[in-house]
């Protein structure tokens, strides 16, 4: 169910991005078209992290706490590296 939701979200994201690119091409410099592309890019970038979060929740529900801890560790290190790169 969740896997199908991710796949569907991927197709919708591609459609949104294609729409944004087409709008940018037809109306160069359009702020609304740029906003659509940015939205699609942010959604794209958040997908891998949301997969980790979903997997972590699945592990917790299945009682596999060592694997859940792994996902939590990844999210912590990612947040730390993002913060370190941002602060540099």
């Amino acid at each position: 169910m969740i896997d199908r939701a991710f796949a569907t979200a991927g197709y919708l994201n591609t459609a949104l991005m294609a729409y944004g690119v087409a709008a940018l091409w037809l109306h160069p410099g359009s702020s609304s078209a740029t906003a659509v592309v940015y939205l699609a890019l942010v959604l794209l970038m958040l997908t891998p992290v949301s997969r980790v979060v979903v997997a972590g929740i699945r592990y917790i529900r299945a009682g596999d706490f060592s694997s859940a801890l792994l996902t939590l560790g990844i999210l912590a290190v990612l947040a730390l590296s993002g913060w370190a790169a941002w602060a540099r």
Binding site: M17, L41, V52, L70, L78, S81, W86
Partner: protein, 275 residues
């Protein structure tokens, strides 16, 4: 900021399609090809090129993780364990970035890639598949090989090597702007007992997570050219479907030979980019 012309967008989309096809077939992000093409071929500044490259790595990862073939082959638990060390390596890489001379790093990377190419080629007939009834151990697993329509069991061996490689891939990912798949896939397959399909699918999943934090930083700092990144991502979506299908239809021997050739090209590209 670089002006995105129609021809630039089209060439970038084509490059994205190639990166996506490579990713879908071999589990690589394709950044090692995309960055030099954008910088040297199309005149895009290196920072903007790296930002576009990281975005395409995420797109490739998403496409493979969403595909049915990818979902069955990805070893999530192994991927998470290794990703933890890749992310830590990436963090260390960002801290030591100024302490290592780029030339030394690139020469080392180039030599390692050439050696891995040779090893992958020489071990192209080696199989990691065990009988279905075999015990996969703590980190191994089973998957349906759609080409042979058989359940394949595998056991992960030399876990410290897999962890060390993932850590090193994380450092390289930060220092060279790569996804790290070119390091992980050959090692996991040649020495750690992971079948080629599982290694490439799991690597593809991991490189997306690795690339995310860097891509978000570029986006937040306004270094991502939205039109160019979107064109590359659309290319990736088109190419990854073809790559996934090719990867599914071809034998592991073919995939390993293709990987060996790609690694050799990566090695040569790195030498050509030497400062």
């Amino acid at each position: 900021m670089t002006e995105v012309t129609l021809s630039l967008a089209l060439v970038t989309a084509l490059a994205g399609a190639l990166a996506g096809a490579l990713g879908g077939m071999l589990g690589l992000g394709g950044g090692v090809f995309l960055v030099p093409l954008l910088v040297q071929g199309l005149g895009v500044p290196i920072t903007e090129a790296a930002a576009v490259s990281l975005t395409t790595v995420i797109a490739t990862s998403n496409a493979i993780s969403s595909s049915s073939q990818g979902r069955y082959a990805i070893n999530l638990r192994l991927g998470f364990m290794l990703e933890l060390f890749t992310a830590a390596g990436g963090l260390i890489g960002s801290l030591v970035a100024t302490a290592i001379a780029p030339r030394v790093l690139m020469i080392t990377f180039s030599v390692v890639m050439a050696m891995m190419s040779a090893i992958t080629f020489l071990r192209r007939d080696h199989s990691n598949n065990l009988p279905e009834s075999a015990d996969p151990g703590a980190w191994g697993g089973r998957f349906l090989d759609e080409r042979t329509d058989q359940i394949v069991t595998y056991r992960v061996v030399r876990m410290p090597l897999a962890i060390g490689t993932s850590f090193g891939a994380g450092i390289l990912s930060t220092l060279l702007g790569l996804g790290g798949g070119v390091v992980k896939v050959p090692i996991l397959n040649a020495w750690c007992g992971v079948p080629m399909r599982v290694a490439s699918a799991t690597s593809a999943f991991m490189i997306g997570v690795t690339a995310t934090s860097g891509a978000l930083v570029y986006l937040g700092r306004g270094r991502l050219i939205p039109g160019l990144a979107a064109a590359a991502v659309l290319g990736v979506r088109a190419g990854s479907g073809l790559g996934i299908r090719l990867g599914q239809e071809q034998s592991p021997r073919f995939l390993k030979t293709a990987l060996a050739i790609v690694l050799l090209i990566v090695s040569l590209v790195m030498v050509q980019r030497l400062p």
